[in-house]
Each structure stands twice: as structure tokens, then as C-alpha cells.
Symmetry: C3
Amino acid sequence: MEDGKISTRTVKEIAAFVNGQIDGAENTAVVGVAPIDQAQTGFLAFIAQPKYDTFLDTTPAAAILVRPDSPQSKTACLIRVPNPYLAFVRIARELFAIGEPEKHGRHNSAIIANSAEIPDNLSIGPYSVIGENAKIGDATIIGNNSTIAPGARLGKRCQIGNNVTIAHDVIVGNDVIIQAGSVIGSDGFGYVKDQDKYYKIPHVGTVILEDNVEIGVNVTVDRGTFGITRIKKGAKLDNLIQVAHNVVIGENTVIASQSGISGSTEIGDNVIIAGQVGFVGHIKIGNRTTFAAQAGITKSIPDGMTISGYPGRNHTRAKREEAVIRQGPELLKRLRKLEKFIKKHFPSSDEK
Amino acid sequence: MEDGKISTRTVKEIAAFVNGQIDGAENTAVVGVAPIDQAQTGFLAFIAQPKYDTFLDTTPAAAILVRPDSPQSKTACLIRVPNPYLAFVRIARELFAIGEPEKHGRHNSAIIANSAEIPDNLSIGPYSVIGENAKIGDATIIGNNSTIAPGARLGKRCQIGNNVTIAHDVIVGNDVIIQAGSVIGSDGFGYVKDQDKYYKIPHVGTVILEDNVEIGVNVTVDRGTFGITRIKKGAKLDNLIQVAHNVVIGENTVIASQSGISGSTEIGDNVIIAGQVGFVGHIKIGNRTTFAAQAGITKSIPDGMTISGYPGRNHTRAKREEAVIRQGPELLKRLRKLEKFIKKHFPSSDEK
Amino acid sequence: MEDGKISTRTVKEIAAFVNGQIDGAENTAVVGVAPIDQAQTGFLAFIAQPKYDTFLDTTPAAAILVRPDSPQSKTACLIRVPNPYLAFVRIARELFAIGEPEKHGRHNSAIIANSAEIPDNLSIGPYSVIGENAKIGDATIIGNNSTIAPGARLGKRCQIGNNVTIAHDVIVGNDVIIQAGSVIGSDGFGYVKDQDKYYKIPHVGTVILEDNVEIGVNVTVDRGTFGITRIKKGAKLDNLIQVAHNVVIGENTVIASQSGISGSTEIGDNVIIAGQVGFVGHIKIGNRTTFAAQAGITKSIPDGMTISGYPGRNHTRAKREEAVIRQGPELLKRLRKLEKFIKKHFPSSDEK
């Protein structure tokens, strides 16, 4: 997969790029990057956790990014850094161009409205459409068969996948990634009921995705009924997630696959949400909270809590309650034994 | 977002449109609509709940739709109606053209089979495809990169989003909305097992969506194996919902995001289903039932019940059971105390 | 829906095709296939379960596929086979061409890179795109507005729906079905955290779908971070399923709608997973295990187990625990009664 991408770097260049300390020959040549269990001769790997230290003396890798306190290696040149995995990712992307999106240019079948503002270096795939008054930032990449609807604005260096819809007037910041099949700015699920019938509420709000937001595949983000659905700086959403109208998701919050957030709920900053979690509408979730998989959150949660179960509650408490449930059949037996004993020794115990 | 859409109406015209009673100057001019907390000078707002009555004397709005028994306003002209929110939605849509879908005409890149029957006023976006013998009703709007497969029929005034598939021979009524990425009429998950292998069952049935059905984003509705998957008049489905083969969903039933209904299950009329609910196959769900979020429904449910939990059960009962679970660790202590007491005072209590 | 597809077969031909034993007139003409409750004069039906034997004497069907030990029919010619449903499905597909995908040819708007290797009999719909160095096997069918990205390889007789993305370098075997809106080979949800920020890990691995894998609608299968996400031979996935990076799914495993499998988890062979089930990452699920709907699996599971609930546990045990929960409020009363009795008769029982 990396044909033509492999270039050679020296350990000295690499260490300088990540401010690392070299423990070995600084002129060692590095031809590529790989995980420690797959690294071949000439490659750079990393070891972030002591349990992988056994590879230090056996790997054929040319160099290894390691923690400052890592043991030495008999076979490889070490580069000591505070966060070896992060250094590895930065080097892979920026020195070896791994995972960099392909800038494929502007396909002549892409339809771009006359009033749209697009940069010279826009990449846009076949059969995509950019509507009237849309505005796209420098170096943004758009896939195939996608729509940037009228009035939508995308920042710089965004990566938009195939079959994506960015609906009208949605605002997307810089360095935002939206993978294939996701829809940003759909109408929310809002109706007025009259007798048994439901009447659709027009959705005149919009969506704002701030800088460095990343959105997975087939995600749905509804626009505000009035006002804004907002996903703040650096938040990361996995695949198949539902974000309802007027939701706010805080900075650097991460949400795993298939979770859903109901209308007008506000999720704080630095929150961690596992897969298949659900939040009811109109609640407020504190900063630095954590939610276990499949939790069902029915009310507001203060800062810092760890929550699991349905209805969602303090995780430590939930585990103690779970432990009692696990003993249920035995506890029932113990209760019955007591009842039997009392009945036997105190035949009158049945009276009220 | 409303450039060019703003027109001026008088309170008299507006009140006549919704049969409201005017309490103030009937020639007051209204230039737009907005929620009560955002309404500026000249706008129409609404107050449906008494808790917002505090805005009555402070809003700069020109006019407010209110309940018949609403207090008076010092600043705005009132229009009294039985359902202020519904009146607001109707006025927004029909007098101020808010939320009305754009009729964008027939793009010359849309491919329309010769044998397809389409109206003169069809709107269809770039790179969409209409197959042989498909039939589309008057004033229907189809987005970009969508497929109306051979033999499919759509009624009048439907709105079909981008990247939608309406599979072959599916039948869609009038005034149906299907948002981006949804697929109607896919093959269901049906196999015959022989030893360890699974053999796909051909799906020769179809899907019928009746009038006024609304479908969110990235929803999947499988066609019947034999026979029909049917969603009845006025039912509303949110995003990322799964409707399996041969399911029936009743009239005016509403289903929130990420819920799933397994094969051949019948959901009654006027049912309310919250998010992430699951129904097993081959069960029958009564009319006017309600399901709390994340409920898991494993058997048929009679009319009128409110259900929560897994396995789904009467909600009031479920809450009582939940309350006991919440006390589990303390109940265990109380049981132990009794056991200890008995053991101490009746050393022979261990005998059977 | 079957215009022009109906041909006539004799019972003799049909029985020979499935090695069945004829019980009736072998020259009986069959004009089509239908389920037993809908079969009209001249049609072939099947009865796999004794509860449908009541149709044996009342159906107008010309012939019925039945179990070897089925009672006789007064009205129809019988064909006895070990697996009547399987025989019916094979006959429907191969003798009556029901459910066979339409080979619609190569649309002139499909964009096919010069370096792509495609067969003469490729079917590809309008506005689809095949990238550089992609390779497609004989008789494969691709829908509309889909992308086969550079370097991807598809086997023979695959069926790819509309609006599908097969990402770069993904490998797909023979006879694979991928329905509309699914995305195979997206980047996984992998980040390195540094202080509060998250940095995307490049995903340089890929996805392998082996022969006879079938994937429903709007499914997401992420590529390996390094290495492979693999779905093995004959596995079947329903709609809206999430398969994270580096997951392995075993042979002939079936997964119902809206289930999700977190990163690096390995699912064994012949596993049955119901709807809305979730698996945490980095666990190993044994062969021939079964998972009830909405189960939440938090640790590895040995071969052969049946699991339900959250956290997932032995299904029989889970049901016993559930039964105790169901009695919770009554058990609490019984405990209180014992406490009251002890307190009354042993006033000193409150001491420690």
C-alpha cells in the first residue's frame, strides 16, 4: 500500500522532529514505520507500554521510539520521548506521508455553482455537487457523489468522504474530517401533535462543526429547530452515531459507535462515551464524565462522574448492585431458609 | 438563512388563517417568525406553556400566538388559538414559506428511463437516476445521487433526499419525506440454514409507505420476503432506524432514532417508541402503547401499556423493581444481620 | 413483479434438480413459486413445519416440497426432500430466476480508471467510479453512485449496491453481496491522546471480506490500523452494523441489525448474534456461541455458550437472576416482615 511513499530519513532527523533523545547511532537510516511486532529491517517502531519491552532485544527494526525510562536495546537505536505512540503517529504522517489524504484534484464532472467560492487547490471527486453561495477553504478534499448544499461553508484542509451531504447553511471549521455516508444538517425529529396526527416543525436552525472535529461513517447530525446544533473543537465521533437537533457536544469529547444523543442535550468537554450509549433529551452532562457501553442516561450528570447501566448511575455503585443481582437466586434461598426457620420455631409468626 | 423569504403580513391576515381571536391591534405588521426568546421587533412568536408567560410583557415581538386562557400582554398583540405551537408551525410554513423544500427543477444530468412516467414539474438533482417503468407524482422533489429503481412508484409532493435508494417496485404514497442516505426496499436478512451454511432467501415482496410517512436519515427498510413491509399513514421515523422484512408499523406511530424492529413484527397505531428500543420478530404490539428508551421487547404487548427495561415490562412495575435493585447492597446487609442474629440465638439453625 | 420471468417446469424436472422423491404425477406443470398460504393454481410451494400441514389438502398449488415423512396431499403433487425450504429457495433462484440480480451492463457514465482491470461482462450503474489499479472479477454487478477506490479488488459474481464505498486496497472475495450505503474500509476510531487532545492514528491496514460474505445496508467496516479487519467465509451481516478496526468475524457467523463489535475483538465461527448486541474491544468470542438481543459483552466467552443481558452472562443463569429481580418488591416485603418479627420478639436484636 505504500508504493512510492517510502523515503529514507536518519534517526537524527527523526529525533529532531519530535524533540527526542537518541540512544544509539544518530546516522542510522530509517526507510519506513511499522508496529513493533511487524517491523522489518530498516523500519522505525515504537514501544509505549513496558509489556512490549521484550521486543527491545529481538526486533530487526532500525530504531524504536521509547519512553524516557525505557531499558536499552541490543539491536536497535532508541529515541526517547515522553509519548512514544504520539511521536510515532506524527512521524508516520508528516515524515513518511502515511495516512495523508490523496489530493486528487478537481474532477471535471463535479458541478460547482457559479456563486460558490472555492480555492484553486480544491480536490473534488466525480459527480459531487457544490451549491450556490457555498464557500470552501484552502486545500479541502471532497470525495465522490457528495453534496455541499447551498450556503454551506467548509474551512481549510477538511476531508469529506464519498456520498456525504453537508446540508444548506451548515458551517464547518478547519481540519474537519467527515467520512463516507454521513449527513450533517438534516431536519430534526420535531413534530407538533394535534389530536393523533403529527405536523413537522420546520428546522430553520443549522449545524456548526468547530475546528478539528472528526466524524465517522454514516453518522447523522440534525440541524437546530431554531438555533444551532454544535460540535465543539476537537470532538471525535465514531460511526453510526445520532446527534439530534440543538445538541451541544463539548471540546475534545469522544463518542464511540452507535451512541445517540437526544434533542437539546448538552455534553460537556473532555467526556468519554463508549459504544451504544443513549442520552435522553434536555439534560446536561458535566465535563470529564465517562460513560460505559450501553449506558442509558436519563438525567443530568455532574462533572467528573463515571456512569454505567440503565438507568445510568455511579459506576462503582452500579457494580455493587450488579454483584447483588448476580447472587439473586442464592439470596432468595437464604431468605426462604430464614422464613422456614422462623415459621418452624415460631408458628405464630404468620400473624400480622 | 431567510434572505428573500421575508414578506409582511398583518395580524388580521394571520389570525384569519388559523381562526384565532385577536387581542390587540389587528393591523399590526408581522415581518417574520421566531421563538419567543429570540423574537425581534416586528416578529411573530408563540407561547404554548405557562412557564414562558414571563415573556408576555418583555418581548419586543409584534405579536404572539397564545392559549385561549393566556394572560394579556403589555407589549404585543395576542392571537388566541387552541394549539399555539401548531398554529405557529402552519403560519411559518404556509404564510412565510419557512421550511418549504426548494423546487430546484430537473437537472440535465439526471438519468430518466424512457418508460418512466414523470410529471412536468418534477424536481430532480444532479446524478440521480430513475429506472424503467418508475412512476413519480406531481410536484415531487428528488435530491442528488439518488436512485428510484425500476418499477418504483412515488406519489405527489414527496421529498426524497440525497444518496437515497428507493428499490425496485417499492410503492410510496403522497406527501412522504425520505431524508438523505435512507434505503427503502433492500433485501431482508433471511437465510435457510443447511448444515453450517446459510443460503439467501430471495426477497420477492416489496415495501409500501403510505401517505404522510416521514423517514429520517440513513434508515433501512427491508422489503418483504414474500408479501409487504408496510408503514402506515402518518407514521414518523427518526434517523438510523432498522425496519426488517414484513414488519407493519401502524398509523401515526412515532419511532425515535436507532430503534430496530425485527422481521414480521406488527406495531400498532399511535404507538410512541423512544430511542434505541429493540423488538424481536413475530410479535404484535398493541395500539397506543409507549416504550421507554433502550427497552428490549421480547413478547407481544396489549393495547395501551407503557413499557420499559429489558426484558420489556410494565413501566410502573419496572420502576418498583429498579428501586429494589438500587437498594441491593443495603438489603444484602439486612439479610446478613438477620442470619447472624438467628445463628447467634439459635445455634441449631443451620440444620436442614 | 415477475413479468416475463415466468417459465414452465415439470415436477419431474424440479424433483431431479433437488434430488427429491415424487409423490404424484411427475408431468404436473409448475408455472411459478409462492409461499403455501399464497400459492395459486399451477404454483410450487413448500411446507417445512408440521404446523402448516393443514394446507396439504386445501391449497390450489400444483406441487409442494415437503419433508420425507410428510402426510400425503389430496390436491397437490408432493416432492419429498430433506430440507424443503432450502430446496424451494434453490428452485426459485435457479429454475425460476427469482431474486437473481439484474445484469444491467456497463453504463457509459461510469468512470473506470485506465489501470483498472475489469471483466467484459461487468455491470456497473450510472455515476459509479472505479479507481486506479482496482481489479474486478467476472460477472460482478455494481450499482449506481458507488465507488470502488484505487487498488481495491473484488472477486467474481459480487453484487454491490448503490452509494457504496469500497475503500482503497480492500480485498473482497467471490460471491460477496454488499447492499446500498455500506462502507468497507473506512478509517477506524483510533487516536493517541496527549493532554486533552486526540491525534488521529493513520490507518494503514485494510479489510478482507472472504467468499460468500453478505453485508446489509448502511453497514460500516473499518480497516485495520495496522493489519487486517477480516470477515471470514460465509458470514452474514444485517443492516446498520458496526465492525471496528482489526476485528475478526468467523466463518458462517450471522449478526443481526444494529449490533456493534469494538476494535480487535475476534468472533468465532458459527456464532449467532441477535440485534443491538455490543462487544467491547480486545476480547475473544468462542465458536458456536449465541447472543440474545441487546446483550452487552464485556469479556471473552468460551465455545458453545449462550449469553444474554448486560453484562453478558450465561443465559440460563441470567434468566434465574431475572426471575428474582421480577419478585424484588415482594422479596423486600418478606424481608421487612422477618425484621419486624425479630424486632418484636427479640427487642435486643438491634445490637451489633
